[in-house]
């Protein structure tokens, strides 16, 4: 029954996230014909400066359907939205109701705090997995509608990358929710950290090995190799954050 409770508490965030992500994936597919029409307008030499370089790079990627899906979908829209919904799913922690309503009732039940946290974490991670894999699979499913093909296994790998990196933000939000008693600070702090990491990734690291590089499946797109180290580090980080959440939750007074 704890599963049912966790599902009831997170279902709207999950369903809204699924709808938004599926629409975003579909939009990526259906905008490709328009992008193809616009490509000839991009000057082959490109404009000067950083902006010009980026436009040229984007245009180069968009010349292939695989490159466009990666750069627009997995590398931008889906990545950002999975980050947002991972944080939203983690917020509230064990007591996902508004302002922790029902927390004392839950704590009066004959259930250990570890089991409460474990169940909530498992439900949240399953929902995140669906949010990451489901929209990724929409792309190969809809691609024939615009006369293109996209490999299912490639979509799956990108979905796994989205999930693995997204789980770190989910776990961070869970940890912060065991520290703060309101829902806003965990969300805002998680998103602020995500913004800082994205900024650092843009400024200091062009190798695609940061968390957002992993989330976009950068290495996989460019080399075809699975980012095992990135996945392992992400899983380890999530594990540590969740361990911290369990330790904090076990000590906390209500």
């Amino acid at each position: 029954m704890l599963w049912y409770k966790a599902w009831l508490e997170t279902r709207w965030r999950f369903l809204i996230g699924l709808l938004v992500l599926v629409c975003s994936a579909a939009a990526t597919v259906f905008t490709y014909p328009k992008v193809l029409q616009l490509l000839p307008l991009v000057p082959p030499e490109g404009a000067g400066g950083e902006l010009g370089r980026r436009i040229t790079e984007a245009a180069a990627l968009a010349r292939t359907y695989r490159g466009f899906v990666w750069s627009q979908g997995f590398g931008q829209d889906l990545m950002r939205m999975v980050t947002l919904f991972a944080a939203l799913l983690g917020v509230g922690g064990v007591f996902s109701g508004s302002s922790g309503a029902g927390s004392l009732f839950t704590l009066s039940m004959p259930v250990s705090r570890n089991r409460l946290l474990g169940t909530r974490t498992a439900i949240g991670l399953v929902e995140l997995l669906v949010l990451a894999i489901g929209p990724a699979l929409v792309i190969p499913l809809l691609s024939p509608a615009v006369g293109q093909r996209y490999a299912i296994d490639e979509a799956l790998v990108h979905g796994v990358c989205l999930f693995a990196a997204g789980s770190a933000f989910f776990s961070l939000a869970m940890l912060l929710s065991t520290i703060f008693s309101d829902a806003w600070r965990p969300l805002l702090v998680t998103l602020a950290i995500a913004l800082v990491l994205a900024f650092c990734g843009q400024v200091f690291d062009g190798s695609g090995e940061g968390i957002f590089g992993l989330m976009a499946g950068d290495v996989y797109f460019r080399t075809g190799a699975l980012p095992w180290w990135g996945l392992a580090i992400s899983a380890g980080t999530s594990g540590l954050l969740l361990y911290g959440a369990a330790a904090t939750f076990a000590r906390r007074d209500f």
Binding site: M1, Y4, K5, L8, E9, G97, S98, A101, G102, S103, L104, F105, L107, S108, M109, P110, V111, S112, R113, A250, R251, D253, F254
Partner: protein, 302 residues
Amino acid sequence: MADPLTIETTGVRKRYGGVEAVRGLDLAVPAGSLCGFLGRNGAGKTTTIKILLGMVRPTGGAARVFGLPADAPAGSLAIRRRTGYVSEEKDLYDYMTVEEMVRFTARFFPRWRRDLEQRYLQRFELPLVARVKALSRGTRTMLALLLALCRGADLLILDEPTAGLDPAVAEDVLQALVAHVASGDGTTVFFSSHQIAEVEQIADRVAVVDRGRVVVSGLLDDLRERYCRVQIVFDGAAPEAAFRTPGVARVQRTGRVLTVTSSAGAGPVLAEARTLGPASVEVVPITLKDIFLESVAAQRED
């Protein structure tokens, strides 16, 4: 042989930052009793209850329920298996319907009483399909009470069960509680309140808490017997007598009158009063309210 204790705390302390909410609280609640935990707002009642249920960890002392340590995870789990609880805020899941709430709770308690569930659903007229969020405060309290009573618990801990209810609903809650205890399965009830009248109405035992300490505790009848107030009237101004008789809780001097509150009967106070040459001495009956107010006042003067 004395009844075994369902609740026993020894020197329990709880500090939140610079504030000590509970300061060496000693409490003993025998099995099968209906104990009122009386205190003003902020006296430490809710914190004590949360300590008993493992929601708050004490910073000192020991709290045991059914002989199990309340602050140990395994002990707390075993305690909660045998305990029904209603929180002060009647904290429930707003997004569930009444029926979902009942089904959800029942799954955690193997001794769930289906017969009581049906009885209380009817008696409290709870709308099964209504969301908890939509319930009035009174109906919400009734649902919280049902969820506690039907657990088949050996101990009911109720934190201000009638707080915020109109007198008619509050009476319903108290009557349901009394009827449940009277059904004779030996359930211990520990309920906090700052309503002296309701404690007096249903409790057989009382513990008065003030500033995080139990200042008076015992069987209600014993307290009424032991506690008394002696009014000593003098022809002139009342003397500043110290009253060294054991059990004197408080001495008040107002003009020609000395009022002595004793927790050890009137006899010794009367004997000492007569040595002061009074114009008249009278033993005045004392109520639980008087006991409460005198104990709290005496605690403040200390």
